[in-house]
């Protein structure tokens, strides 16, 4: 059952007009809100007691499920990647333990092949009983800092299969009828690099589920068991009805889209498509991802739980006020297609990096389709989730303790209809995920941050530009036996614009050896050895632009220049706006309106030709230093190895085809420079 989520999610008979509640309106609303309060109380408890800095940064989620494992309420501040998996965890416990589930039991599970996301996301599941009958489940899922395996932090980019990546936990009891099974917990914690923290987080999450149990029993005492059971069902029906009402107001139709993972390193260069098809018919949404590429040789694939969650999160972004539970899932039919694709990778294919691979691509492809359905909420592509891991021995202390500099960044979000994209914001992976303070990192590891600053011009040009990305770089000081790994994407499948907007810039890490030699390591690599004195840096992309950049208000460009979000040079190349410096010390700039009209005319007449220019000659001009990376991508649509400057011909063809669809098709020929 759990392996094929779409079968579980056939449209319900409850249609928009047929729902009658048996609870009175007050009891219903009071219980619905009480369930929401319970999951928020669980979240509070976790935040106050957790050990993993990843959980502390809000990479966790909580849910209340009914006795069949369907979600009744999901936490209001939960991380987006986990919004469609917790019911799979409850169902996995039901499936594996059935009748033997007893009061006082608590289970732990992290299995992506049973509907989880990846090994680091560990869920504690507490069955809740009433009158000796299974009645509900409380679940708390959190990202543990390390789950063992070959690479610190358990992100092994080179893994093709999960063996050796991390400890896989199929559902197992850690409390049995109230008794703490310390032997089982020790087996788990002993397989990780931070056993004490693992046990701390296990307690924090288990205790959070106990809070839910206590509160549910209080509600039973006040309203009766049957009222609560009815409310479990009716709260799901409520969300389903609310969702269906909204969907039925939308036009029927079919939308198709694709986004790309950079490449499969085991095969020829070329973008890897993730295909998403959406059909709206009446009050039902049907997603079909069956056209997606076969699973690839690195861990950017997704198993079914993560893909399902991605579809849910991508859809929910356009229904921000609708609560999430299994009622929402019932209005969304998801067909992932046959097992074996990037979006439906079966055991034992590696899927640990799926959040930066498939998840991002499903989300952003969905955003563009929904932007067509709801133009007033349009959103171009946002930067890609990324995390850089530097691990080794800390030479500052005599006992040379293990250190782990595990860093993720914020970046730019896509341009919007009528509004620029947000600068420096947490990833679509989860807008609640906070970046870590570098002062905390510097205490705990011998890594000195050299910069953490916005990147000028990184916002994809558009009538409404993408938000700016961020540069973060650092120097390894007293590190010993240190290696660096990186999980990201979009060094080639560059963060794109919509409705005529242009792309941002590539993700990827640059390493500068202490002797001054500079290397581009790309957007995915693992276990690169570095030594004291080496430094490294990487940008996060900005968001893609929305609308034709030649239609951007020149006054907005001037303001961007005064604040340094856009440089004087690129205001000309990206926007055709000629800005003159009046007094930089006073941040005073002026627009040359005539020259601007002329420059925009020039760009307008040449830009199609630029996109057809011979890619090899563009690559040569990049290597000679005549063109920079933004020129190559935005003006010529050419994709290179950014270190060597060598061309990826097939990738370039695919990228140019993408630009034709997302940018060129929306450009108009008429000059539209507003005159003052």
């Amino acid at each position: 059952l759990a392996e094929h989520p779409h079968r579980d999610l056939a449209p319900s008979v409850a249609t928009a007009s047929a729902l009658k509640r048996s609870l009175d309106p007050v009891t219903f609303e009071v219980l619905k809100n009480a369930f929401a309060t319970i999951v928020d109380e669980m979240a509070e408890q976790i935040l106050r007691t957790c050990h993993s800095f990843v959980i502390w940064s809000r990479d966790f989620s909580c849910a209340l499920c009914d006795r069949d494992g369907n979600t009744v309420m999901q936490g209001s501040q939960d991380i987006a990647t986990q919004v469609g998996i917790l019911h799979f965890m409850a169902k996995a416990v039901l499936e594996n333990f059935g009748e033997s589930i007893a009061p006082g039991d608590v289970y732990v599970i992290n299995d992506p092949y049973s509907g989880g996301t990846h090994f680091n996301d560990v869920t504690l599941v507490r069955p809740i009983f009433c009158d000796e009958e299974l009645f509900a489940f409380a679940l708390a899922c959190g990202h543990w800092a390390d789950m063992g395996g070959r690479v610190p932090g358990s992100f092994d980019i080179s893994a093709r299969e999960h063996f050796g990546e991390a400890l896989r936990i199929t559902p197992v009891r850690v409390w049995k009828a109230g008794e703490y099974l310390s032997d089982v917990v020790r087996l788990i914690s002993a397989n990780t690099r931070v056993p004490s923290d693992i046990e701390g987080d296990l307690h924090a999450q288990a205790k959070a589920t106990a809070v839910a149990e206590r509160e549910l029993h209080r509600l039973v005492g006040k309203y009766s068991k049957s009222a609560i059971l009815t409310a479990f069902a009716e709260v799901q029906d409520y969300v389903e009805l609310l969702t269906r009402r909204r969907v039925s107001e939308l036009p029927d139709g079919v939308w198709e889209n694709e986004d790309y993972i950079d490449a499969d390193p085991a095969t020829e260069e070329g973008l890897i498509p993730v295909r998403v098809r959406l059909k709206i018919s009446g009050d039902q949404m049907y997603y079909d991802l069956s056209g997606s590429h076969p699973a690839i040789s690195i861990f950017l694939n997704a198993a079914f739980g993560l893909s399902f969650s991605s579809v849910i999160a991508g859809t929910k972004t356009f229904f921000p006020d609708v609560p999430l539970n299994s009622g929402f899932y019932r209005a969304v039919d998801v067909n992932l297609g046959p097992e074996g694709s990037v979006v439906n990778a079966p055991w034992p294919i590696a899927v640990t990096g799926g959040a930066s691979g498939v998840h991002e691509k499903i989300m952003n492809a969905s955003f563009e389709m929904w932007s067509q359905i709801m133009p007033e909420r349009a959103l171009a592509c946002s930067f890609n989730l990324e995390y850089l891991l530097v691990g080794g021995r800390d030479g500052r202390r005599k006992d040379r303790p293990y250190f782990m500099w595990y860093d993720w960044m914020v970046g730019g979000w896509g341009g919007r209809n009528g509004k620029d994209g947000c600068n420096a914001t947490s990833p679509v992976f989860g807008v609640g995920l906070a970046v870590q303070p570098l002062e905390g990192q510097e205490r705990l590891s011998p890594v000195l941050t050299s910069t953490h600053e916005l990147v000028p011009d990184s916002g994809g040009p558009g009538r409404y530009r993408g938000g700016c990305g961020v540069q973060k770089g650092a120097l390894l000081r007293e590190g010993e036996r240190t290696v660096m790994s990186y999980s990201c994407d979009r060094a080639r499948s560059i963060t794109w614009g919509i409705d005529g907007g242009l792309p941002s810039l590539p993700h990827g890490v640059w390493l500068q050896r202490s002797d001054g030699e500079r290397h581009f390591l790309g957007a995915v690599f693992s276990n690169v050895a570095i030594t004291s004195g080496d430094s490294f840096t990487r940008p996060s992309a900005g968001g893609g632009g929305f609308g034709d950049p030649l239609e951007r208000d020149p006054l907005a460009v001037r303001e961007d220049v005064a604040d340094g979000y856009v440089t004087v040079d690129r205001s000309l190349t990206d926007y055709g706006v000629v800005i003159r410096e009046v007094d930089a010390e006073l941040a005073e700039y002026e627009i040359d309106w005539e020259a601007t009209e002329h420059a925009r005319g020039e760009i307008r007449s040449h830009r199609l030709g630029w996109l057809a220019e011979d890619p090899e000659s563009v690559a040569a001009r990049y290597r000679s230093g005549e063109l920079d990376v933004m020129d190559v991508i935005r003006r010529y649509g050419v994709i290179l190895d950014w270190g060597s400057g060598s061309l990826f011909p097939r990738t370039t063809d695919q990228f140019r085809a993408m630009l034709m669809r997302r940018a060129v098709a929306h450009w108009t020929k008429a000059p539209t420079v507003p005159l003052p």
Partner: protein
């Protein structure tokens, strides 16, 4: 005759509370706030009929700092920061409070990017100077600031909490070349780890300083002209007062001044009546402020902000504000569920019964329809239209749910009360405390209307309604001590030398004495309290553990930490190492404690002024209910529910089954009948 005066200025009203030292009688006045806030203060003083030359104390609560931040009525301020880190306050932690709505943004930082200037300097986590401040660059920055005409500056350098030398040098250069400048440096304002939190606090301090300095200077002068000869004492977010001089250095501590006043009053009233634990429930027109008193202490948090994303990390009384008030709207959502708030009818158009064009039913309308609220408010100044309330309730709630108008009103209020109970539960009861040990202190215009029902919902056995519910916050400003909160990072675990801790405490205490002395506090009136923030090694949040002075061993503190962790979070880990995180000293200058007049209590049954039909929560029939006038009630007046007590600024509901008595201080104490 001598008097003590407190003036609390809010957005709508300026409240004055005066204590006559000889008679110990409290008198009050309420006047509308004015555009020039000081005009309102003077009008309030006139309305209270006092002579300032008789005043020996002047306490002041103000929302001026909070409002300036929210409305962005801020001067142009510059920030000088470490090269490479220009955007820390814009990057923040990257999160948004609105997780799903891609069109809702976090507010921009208080200082624009163009006014954030960088200088070469760097300190590492151990406090070593990696790069001394480059003086030539510093002087260049000062030159640019002078050209820009900016005279308020925040200096925020990385790791300045560990070594403030570079920041101090930068300040010296600024002072040297811009003698008129007002400068806030992060190592003095908040010498604590985590760059964004420290920078944000420092920047907030800087942007508020010109306004606060100017306002308090002007207020001080005008009070002096009016005859006041003592110190102007301003309430800060930590629940104590500062002199105007202290406030000029730490103006960001005034953000939250208005909220703190109600909390201080709650604590005072609870301790007066011998309650250790209390919940303050201050319900107004659009929102409700909730505070918690445990063992006579207000809960303090360092995780506080006026606007999301811009923390002000001074210790602040924990006040939770929820969007529920008398004006909150009852409405039916798309899926037919009855909701309450957070939208509010506000002051305009206000509830339907105000007949100012409001067509949506509010909690006030529902209270009116059920007879809990009379048709005449503020002694006749406001006439409510019951028919308008009924037709709004019928149209919006009654008809769709097929309910009679009274049942619709009852439903609206039950949902409103349940929502508030959920919010109270989230911050209070769940932390292991038994609700039966609490008193609910109900104030604000609407608090006494809902207090008894809310207490019953939460199983709280007692409700306290102060004599003047509408001006309770001003009372809070009357009865406070001078208070400074000092802290110092102190990271360490096993083998921490208690003598080192003691030495650091003594350093903090010396600074505390110095600050109190500078405010004219005599040594015998100084009281200094120590706490250590502690946590399990690997945890992120800490608990503040009180310690004795002098400190010779940490064993007692560690044992107390295990106990408190068990109590607050439901478990402890006795075998896990405990880490010290921060040392805190609270330096209190005890002000002369006036006693409120005690009235001799003679138990009697007062006679009602009138009767009307009222419907109470969970009672289906209309009850003929006596209505009393509060000003007629003397100490010892004993009233059985059902009853209504009306007064100028509020209405008190005593439900059937509950009983009440007026106590020695003229508070109404309601004893709630709880379900068995």
């Amino acid at each position: 005759m001598t008097v003590r005066v407190a003036v609390d200025v809010g957005g709508t009203f300026t409240d004055v509370c005066v204590l006559d030292e000889s008679s110990r009688q409290v008198s009050v006045a309420k006047v509308p706030s004015t555009a020039d806030l000081i005009d309102g203060v003077e009008a309030g003083i006139r309305a209270a009929g006092i002579n300032l030359d008789e005043a020996v104390f002047f306490g002041h609560g103000t929302t001026i700092a909070t409002n300036a931040l929210i409305t962005r009525q801020l001067p142009r301020v510059a920030m000088v920061t470490t090269r490479g880190f220009r955007d820390i306050i814009e990057i923040r932690r990257g999160t948004k409070d609105e997780l799903w709505d891609a069109y809702k943004d976090v507010a921009p930082p208080y200082i624009t990017r163009r006014d954030r200037l960088v200088v070469s300097e760097r300190v590492d986590a151990a406090g070593r100077i990696v790069q001394p401040l480059v003086e030539a660059e510093a002087r260049e920055i000062v030159r640019i600031l002078r050209r820009r005409g900016i005279t308020t500056v925040a200096v925020c350098f990385i790791n300045a909490y560990a070594n403030g030398t570079n920041e101090q040098k930068m300040r010296d250069i600024l002072e040297d070349e811009l003698p008129e400048a007002s400068i806030s440096i992060s190592s003095e304002i908040l010498p604590e780890i985590f760059e964004h939190e420290r920078f944000s606090t420092t920047v907030t301090n800087a942007v508020l300083s010109p306004l606060v300095f100017q306002y308090l200077g002007e207020l001080g002068r005008r009070l002096e002209d009016d005859g006041y000869g003592g110190d102007l004492l301003v309430l800060h977010s930590g629940g104590g007062v500062m002199t105007a001089k202290g406030a000029a250095k730490f103006p960001a501590r005034l953000a939250g001044s208005g909220l703190a006043a109600g909390a201080v009053a709650t604590r005072h009233l609870a301790s007066l009546c011998d309650f250790g634990h209390a919940i303050g429930f201050d319900m107004g027109g659009t929102s409700t402020d909730i505070t918690l008193v445990l063992d006579g202490q207000l809960r303090v948090t360092k995780d506080w902000s006026v606007e999301y994303g811009y923390p002000i990390c001074f210790p602040s009384i924990e006040v939770v504000t929820i969007g529920a008030g008398g004006g909150s709207l009852g409405w039916i959502d798309d899926a037919g569920s009855l909701r309450n708030g957070p939208q509010s009818a506000g002051a305009y158009p206000g509830p339907a019964c105000y007949r100012r064009g409001g067509a949506s039913p509010t909690n006030t309308d529902a209270n009116l329809v059920l007879g809990r609220l009379g048709e005449t408010l503020i002694g006749g100044a406001l006439q409510l239209d019951r028919e308008a309330a009924e037709s709004a309730l019928t149209a919006v709630v009654g008809a769709p749910l097929e309910l009679e108008v009274a049942d619709a009103a009852d439903a609206v209020l039950r949902v409103a009360n349940a929502n508030m109970a959920d919010a109270l539960r989230l911050i209070s009861i769940r932390r292991g405390h038994d609700p039966r040990d609490f008193v609910l202190v109900a104030f604000g215009g609407a608090g006494p209307l809902h207090g008894a029902d809310l207490a019953r919902e939460l199983s709280i056995p007692a409700v306290l309604v102060p004599p003047n519910p509408g001006i309770t916050s001003a009372l809070g400003c009357l009865l406070v001590d001078v208070r400074h909160d000092l802290s110092s990072m102190f990271l360490g675990r096993d083998g921490v030398d208690p003598q080192e801790v003691e030495a650091e405490f003594q350093r903090l205490e010396a600074e505390g004495y110095e600050r109190l002395a500078a405010e004219g506090i005599a040594e015998m009136e100084m009281d200094l309290q120590r706490t250590i923030d502690m946590r399990y090694l690997g945890q992120w949040r800490s608990l503040a553990i009180p310690v004795s002075s002098p400190l010779t061993s940490l064993q007692e503190a560690i044992a107390a930490f295990h106990d408190q962790h068990e109590r607050e979070h439901g478990y402890n880990r006795l075998e896990t190492p405990v880490e010290l995180y921060r040392l805190n000293v609270t330096a209190v200058g005890l002000t002369h404690k006036p006693e409120l007049a005690r009235h001799s209590r003679k138990r009697y049954r007062p006679s009602a002024q009138s009767k009307r039909l009222v419907r109470f929560d969970s009672v289906e029939e209309w009850l003929e209910t006596p209505v009393y006038r509060r000003e007629d009630l003397e100490a010892g007046a004993s009233i059985e529910g059902p009853a209504i007590i009306e007064q100028l600024d509020s209405t008190v509901v005593i439900p059937p089954g509950s009983s009440s008595e007026v106590d020695d201080w003229l508070n109404i104490r309601i004893e709630i009948s709880l379900p068995a």
